[in-house]
Point group: C2
Chain length 178, copies 2
Amino acid sequence: MIKIEREKRELAYQGTILTIYRDTVRLPNGETEDWDTVHHNGAAAVIPVLSDGRILMVRQYRNALNRFMLELPAGALDSPDEPDEVCAARELEEETGYRSENLERLICVNTTVAFCDERIGVFVARDLIPSRQKLDAGESLDVLAYTMEELEGKIFSGEITDGKTIAGLMAYKVRYCS
Amino acid sequence: MIKIEREKRELAYQGTILTIYRDTVRLPNGETEDWDTVHHNGAAAVIPVLSDGRILMVRQYRNALNRFMLELPAGALDSPDEPDEVCAARELEEETGYRSENLERLICVNTTVAFCDERIGVFVARDLIPSRQKLDAGESLDVLAYTMEELEGKIFSGEITDGKTIAGLMAYKVRYCS
């Protein structure tokens, strides 16, 4: 198979969390095209499992979609070098008010490969220890607990649509609940 | 819960498939922040199931990640108004060389909700009918068939990382293979 070659990369826009590049690529047929590419430093998400098997979820307003979304707790890496396990442990505590010393890597998710390099490490957190929610100044979210059966219903009814959340929950179910 | 209000939206960059906005949002604490938002018209993906249960996947080079990725067949809507079922049927035939008159909606995926409005409808395609691959001039991809057991192994080993693909395959396994 012939590889598409990136011949040129130009900075198109420097945002606060995103960097947009205009890449010129040479296609297998010899022609060139300009493709948009979004750089993101990456993130981590957590499946926090309570002792009764229920899973903690967060509900928050998402500006990009202009609606509330039910998602796994998650957040961006503090820096490009931060290990995603460290980010996952921090976001778990900050968003849900529980911490865990038992985090297990479940899957890695590249969120939207056609134009973005974002990667989210998804972890299972067990043996949850009550701590304290520490939301950022601008953050507002509800923490809710659901059974896997309830979450499965919400995925197949279209109520849960967040990609990392569907990938994480369904992978967890396949690995641990079947 | 207090909603975050979008107060202003400015076009930051107009790309070929992406539009980047700089949104000014008012946070629950009363302060404002500038947030990057990426608009994408949306896409569709397909889980093509052969009569022996194996699933067709495509392997292609992804510029944003600078590597080859193993994914479900998928593609962007031709226009913002195109129904995702139509897009799914077209991409199935173009990329795999099979068509189907039996497409079933499985899940909807918002790929990366923190900064993008992209939505991918994921469909199961059965009763596949041999047709002809019709790749775009610049497209180059391999079509490969795998059992669900093989795909599950590749997800948990980290070989498959594409979000729509993990979400789609694991949801398919939960619904139809357990």
